[in-house]
């Protein structure tokens, strides 16, 4: 967390100095893109929404008040709002197709079918979690932040993060267990 670097950059970016805005953007662009991609696995949408997040950042920076909490958290909140707006305007729940799951540029061509199915089920199950639970899992396991860093970013205690994480993983295990046994029984019936 480049807190010290960010604070000096922030002051300049709040005056809307283009170089500072660009530098601040470069610091966080890939994290924000990953966060959006974790929620919407479609590269084109991720690109558009990432741009929107940072345009909102430029607009709103003068009103941002740094009080010691990480700037990143503010960006994640803007990104979460953009994702929510996206789903609201598209009038659908965040569901993914196999093609969408394969839409990532980083997806290897030789991805096997079982892995695709796993990803598809996991993404579908994740949509049943609360926004906060999804963010906790993203920060800890996709961004590989520590539990302490996750707690700091979300303004919570480590204990609260541990409890929410435990509950979220249990819920996912239950959802995935049910879905997979259903699929197995369906394929058993078919055979």
């Amino acid at each position: 967390m480049a807190t010290n670097t960010t604070s000096s950059l922030l002051e300049r970016a709040q005056r809307r100095e283009p170089d500072a805005v660009a530098e601040l953007y470069r610091l966080y662009v890939q994290s924000i893109a990953r966060y959006i991609g974790y929620r919407i696995p479609d590269v084109t949408v991720v690109e558009d929404l990432t741009a929107e997040v940072f345009l909102r950042m430029v607009e709103s920076l003068p009103r941002y008040r740094a009080t010691g909490a990480p700037f990143e958290a503010w960006l994640y909140r803007i990104a979460a709002a953009q994702v929510a707006n996206y789903y609201r305007h598209h009038q659908r729940h965040p569901q993914t197709s196999l093609n969408e799951a394969m839409g990532s540029e980083s997806t290897p061509v030789e991805f096997n079918v079982q892995k695709q199915q796993e990803i598809h089920e996991l993404r579908a199950a994740l949509t049943n979690l609360s926004d906060e639970q999804r963010t906790i899992l993203f920060l800890r396991f996709v961004e590989r932040k520590s539990h302490q860093e996750t707690a700091y970013l979300l303004g919570k205690t480590v204990e609260a993060i541990a409890t929410a994480q435990h509950r979220a993983l249990k819920q996912l295990a239950k959802l995935l267990g049910t879905e997979r046994s259903d699929l197995q029984s369906l394929s058993g019936e078919a055979s």
């Binding site: 690109e47 607009e59 994480q165």
Partner: protein, 284 residues
């Protein structure tokens, strides 16, 4: 698979061991189903923006920074700034009237409309300075541009004359449908904006929009609407929560609602610099 860990702290300890933070790389064999789910999340395909995409967004941001210019938020948040905004709104209103009616006269003389889009910038210093130490200067930009009113608000017939843009910030004095009144100026909000139905009389609203005419009245057609003094949280399925809700209206689980929790549960007050920002901002 073994039985899942049932203690959150023990699960956290084992996760730290098996999926260490700040480290990439393969994750070893896992027998706990909960940790296996965490492994699957860690192994989800990641989207990385290409350098060309990153650069093209950067160009847009640099342009936005230049266009938006130096902020005026160093001025007092309320009080002096309030008075200034009233003055600016009134002057801008007069300028807008002058532009519209002057152009109507020009149209009657069949004067050709210029093909370029000139921009007039007026810098005004109010005669009543709110505090003796403050000498603020605000810029009102009236730009003659092709109107976006027709595409954004098809129900409203805009004037044929050039249309100005106006920035106005002040308390909502009245609401009728999706139209609000700020300093006696009608402001038409975007009905598609999720913030619109949450706005209440007394809210401090910042609006940037185009000036249109309905009959003999001026109306501002909001392109950017910012709810300045209240955070509004938006859930994935579109539900909203205002952070100034009364204590008998608890926030849904997904809403951080720092102010509500601080006020009603004695929780942690907003300390992240974003309490004032929240999701209350919304572009139309």
């Amino acid at each position: 698979m073994n039985t899942p860990t049932d203690d959150p702290r023990e699960l956290m300890r084992r996760l730290d061991e098996l999926i260490p933070s700040n480290q990439e790389g393969d994750i070893g064999p896992i027998t706990d189903p909960l940790i296996d789910i965490a492994r699957q999340i860690a192994e989800l395909p990641r989207i990385t923006l290409s350098e060309s995409t990153v650069s093209s967004i950067e160009v847009r941001l640099r342009d936005a920074a230049v266009i938006l210019g130096t902020p005026t938020s160093h001025l007092p948040r309320w009080g002096g700034r309030h008075i200034l905004l009233v003055s600016v709104a009134v002057v801008a209103f007069m300028v807008a009237l002058w532009i519209i009616f002057d152009t109507d006269r020009e149209d009657n003389r069949t004067r050709p409309i210029p093909t370029e889009s000139p921009t007039t910038t007026l810098t005004m210093t109010p005669t009543t300075t709110p505090t003796p130490t403050l000498t603020p200067s605000l810029t009102v930009t009236v730009s003659i541009t092709p109107s976006r009113i027709a595409t954004l608000f098809p129900s409203i017939t805009p004037t044929a004359a050039p249309v100005g843009t106006l920035v106005i910030e002040g308390p909502v004095e009245a609401i009728e449908g999706t139209t609000v009144v700020i300093y006696d100026i009608l402001v038409q909000l975007d009905p598609q904006n999720p913030l619109t139905p949450t706005i209440q009389v007394g809210d401090l609203l910042h609006v940037e929009g185009e000036i249109g005419v309905i009959g003999d009245r001026i109306i501002v057609l909001a392109l950017v609407t910012v709810l300045v003094d209240v955070d509004v949280y938006i859930g994935d399925s579109g539900e909203l929560f205002r952070d100034d809700a009364p204590c008998d209206t608890p926030p849904p689980a997904w809403a951080p609602a720092y102010r509500w929790r601080a006020r009603c549960e004695g929780g942690q007050p907003p300390s992240d610099g974003m309490g004032d920002e929240g999701m209350g901002d919304s572009d139309d």
